[in-house]
């Protein structure tokens, strides 16, 4: 059996760590969570020379081993716990050739934990461009390690890196800094108190302001009780440690690295001047957003139409192929239309993530964060709140978790509370289907009305988040300090492989995450719509036939009337009619009411629910859109989905807190049910009110 070793990929953010992970593992990777917490865990398998297999973990980006967030906590906990099944046989520290000095701080800390450590210097293709020269043998000697000079962009040096990892046993574990140098007396006492333990590990445990969940409490308490120095003294010693590390790094780089600024040809400053300009910056950002929404509409219409008709045909084909009966109907009228309601949105979701991924990969997103900080401050948010708000376009759950790097509790809480207003990908299917039904197809200066409406909805969501943040900032009486630091990575041409993997991973998680729920809800809904209590349901055929005995209806028309009567008296029909008085003023019928209630599980369920309800009893080969377009308002006549009810629905979904999972994550992040309950009640009431005003005004 091939030998397997654990390799931990560690590095500062924006060093291309994930690109190294992708280059090493290819598609042999999986994404999960660390047990008990919701920090993303990426791991994969890489085949190394001489039959060695490496289990590679891509640890969250961190600037040092002085953890200040949950993400960074994961790194330090793993490196301090030799009993962890993922404890690395070798640590691979990824650095960026342009920020070597800053990146080496983390390297020296890991090296001092006496773990075999390899230094990867990434982005080597930019060395000539930036006028950087490195003396690799000298750096290897001073840093007591092997260095892999690589470029994931040009796919250079990966094989050499694999070779170095395979030979990790040859690496020195000698520390870079003698911990005693920080304070000889203090460290002597520490050594005497814990004679068998690594001094630097003890120092890290003493100075970290985090909860060590994995490391034994007794041991941690024993070390903490040793402290002897005040918090202020310990902070001073930490600063001394950092200064000593930088002295070591400076001495090393003095000879090991030369930078010739005259030969550097840098466009970055010029680009930054334009992209972060207080007028041009916002204008360019606006144009980019417009282009994205236009492209989402224009490029995805063909594959969407194809998927829609393919599912309609599949449903029809299933009915013909399988023997008649309840199970056949469940598949043809429940499961297939329900799944069709989610699969149809794959093209648009994929395009959205394609653009977001390109913006992130290129380094532009950090400029947006910087740009938006000017606006955010006025509303009680931090520039760092932009990241959750933009991530919220994918899903509010990871976005809310991304607030953990906001240092001020007040800013973090406000960001958590307002992030669900951002238009997430689950709202997209609802918006798209309703926009296509109620907004005409014309164009305005080359931009379609439908794309403009979609962009407007995104802006409404973002605007609602900003305004509610401003209100919360005034209402919440929490005192906290605030500061904003953001790293501007270099501009890069996005790596096709990284973009493709992101699009694949995000689309897959959207389809499979939501798909399972939609499948289950489709089955339950179909059952509730196909069965019912009492005479009206069981004798529907006789009742309808008698009612229309004199109307000269064709067999098809009569069948339609029977199906409609059965649906109205099914379990779902009875439930729908019960809630109808509450939603009638908004322009919705009981079927839309059922779709709204069921979409509380996940917003995208709305379309699948309507697709299932409208399919029950129908023998026609119809697309979801056509079925919805054909629905008639039972009271006013005319299409049910008209401009007034459509806008009312769009606004309802723009503001309503229609997501159980988001509420659960808010509870976890705030450690209280108080905040998610406020969110649920206030957002839902506001959504209802806005939808009501919109419908009553537009009808």
């Amino acid at each position: 059996m091939a030998k397997q070793i654990n390799v931990a990929l560690i590095g500062n953010p924006n060093t291309g760590k994930t690109s190294v992970f992708n280059a090493l593992t290819g598609l042999n990777q999986k994404v999960g969570n660390y047990p008990g917490i919701t920090v993303e865990k990426k791991e994969g398998i890489c085949k190394l020379p001489r039959g060695v297999k490496a289990h590679i973990i891509d640890l969250p980006g961190t600037y040092s081993l002085n953890a200040s967030s949950l993400d960074e906590n994961v790194v330090i906990e793993l490196l301090l716990n030799k009993n962890d099944k993922d404890f690395p046989d070798v640590a691979v520290v990824v650095s960026d050739v342009e920020n070597l000095k800053r990146n080496l701080l983390l390297y020296t800390q890991i090296k001092d934990l006496e773990i075999p450590t390899i230094l990867v210097i990434n982005m080597s293709d930019r060395m000539t461009y930036k006028g950087i020269k490195l003396d690799i043998p000298y750096l290897e000697q001073k840093l007591e390690t092997k260095i892999a000079l690589i470029s994931t962009r040009k796919n250079r040096g990966i094989d050499e890196l694999k070779e170095v990892i395979a030979n990790y046993k040859e690496l020195s574990v000698k520390p870079c800094l003698n911990a005693s140098e920080i304070d000889t007396d203090y460290f002597d006492k520490l050594r005497k108190a814990f004679p068998n333990q690594l001094l630097y590990k003890l120092w890290l445990v003493i100075t970290q302001d985090v909860n060590f969940g994995k490391v034994d409490r007794n041991q941690i308490d024993a070390i903490h009780s040793f402290k002897t120095k005040s918090e202020a003294d310990l902070k001073r010693l930490q600063q001394k440690e950092t200064i000593k590390r930088y002295q070591f790094i400076n001495n090393t780089l003095k000879k090991g690295q030369t930078i010739d600024l005259n030969s550097a040809k840098d466009l970055r400053i010029k680009l930054d001047r334009i992209l972060t300009h207080k007028v041009w910056g916002y204008l360019i950002f606006g144009i980019i957003l417009l282009t994205i929404f236009q492209a989402i509409y224009d490029w995805s219409s063909v594959p969407m139409d194809f998927i829609d008709s393919a599912f309609a045909s599949l449903s029809e084909w299933t009915k013909h192929l399988m023997p008649e009966g309840a199970f056949t109907n469940l598949i043809a009228e429940g499961i297939i239309p329900g799944l069709g309601g989610i699969v149809i949105f794959i093209p648009q979701i994929a395009f959205l993530f394609l653009f977001i991924s390109v913006l992130e990969e290129s380094g532009y997103m950090s400029r947006v964060v910087f740009l938006m900080d000017r606006i955010m401050r006025r509303f009680g948010l931090s520039g760092k709140s932009v990241v959750p708000l933009i991530s919220g376009t994918a899903c509010a759950i990871p976005a809310i978790m991304a607030t953990r790097n906001i240092e001020s509790w007040k800013e973090r809480l406000i960001t958590i509370l307002v992030t669900p207003f951002t238009t997430c990908s689950a709202r997209l299917p609802v918006y798209l289907i309703i926009i296509s039904l109620v907004i005409p197809e014309g164009r305005f200066f080359g931009l379609s009305y439908q794309a403009l409406t979609l962009m407007l909805l995104y802006l409404i969501g973002f605007g609602a988040a900003i305004v509610s943040a401003w209100i919360l900032n005034k209402v919440l009486k929490i005192r906290s300090k605030t500061f904003f630091v953001v790293e501007m990575p270099n501009y890069k041409v996005p790596l096709l492989k990284n973009v493709a993997l992101t699009v694949l991973e995000k689309t897959k998680s959207f389809v499979f995450g939501a798909g399972k729920i939609i499948l289950a809800i489709s089955i339950v809904l179909w059952f509730l719509a196909s069965y019912g209590p009492g005479e009206q349901f069981n004798n529907a055929e006789d009742i309808v036939t008698q009612q229309h005995a004199l109307d000269n209806l064709t067999q098809d028309e009569l069948d339609q009337k029977i199906a409609s009567h059965k649906l109205e008296h099914s379990f779902i029909g009875i439930a729908g009619h019960a809630i109808e008085p509450a939603i009638r003023p908004l322009g919705y019928d009981w079927k839309i009411g059922i779709a709204i209630v069921s979409s509380f599980a996940a917003r995208e369920v709305f379309v699948g629910t309507l697709a299932t309800i409208y399919s029950v009893g129908s023998d026609e080969e119809e697309t979801i859109k056509n079925r919805m377009a054909g629905e008639v308002n039972p009271i006013l006549g005319g299409p049910l989905f008209n401009f007034a009810s459509g806008i009312s629905l769009l606004l309802f979904y723009a503001f309503a807190m229609q997501c159980m999972s988001t509420l659960a994550i808010v509870k976890r992040e705030t450690n209280s049910w108080k905040w998610p309950m406020y969110q649920l009640v206030i957002m839902s009431a506001f959504a209802y009110l806005v939808a009501l005003i919109a419908y009553q005004f537009l009808k």
């Binding site: 047990p35 301090l80 716990n81 030799k82 009993n83 814990f194 068998n196 333990q197 690594l198 590990k201 969940g213 994995k214 490391v215 034994d216 409490r217 007794n218 041991q219 941690i220 023997p323 009966g325 309840a326 199970f327 056949t328 469940l330 399972k516 729920i517 499948l519 289950a520 809800i521 089955i523 339950v524 059952f527 599980a601 159980m660 659960a664």
Partner: protein, 47 residues
């Protein structure tokens, strides 16, 4: 016969779907996960 089998399959599918949804949204009690074995004792290996 065919009708009976089809009905059984429908009820099985509905039961499965309901179980999945109740489980997914935390209505059913969850199994307790084993507590992570702590290190730091005599032979913990973390030093």
């Amino acid at each position: 016969m065919n009708t009976i089998i089809q009905n059984i399959l429908v009820f099985a599918a509905v039961a499965l779907a309901l179980w999945f949804l109740l489980n997914k949204f935390g209505v059913l009690p969850k199994k307790k996960t084993a507590v992570t074995k702590a290190c730091g004792k005599d032979d913990c290996g973390c030093h």
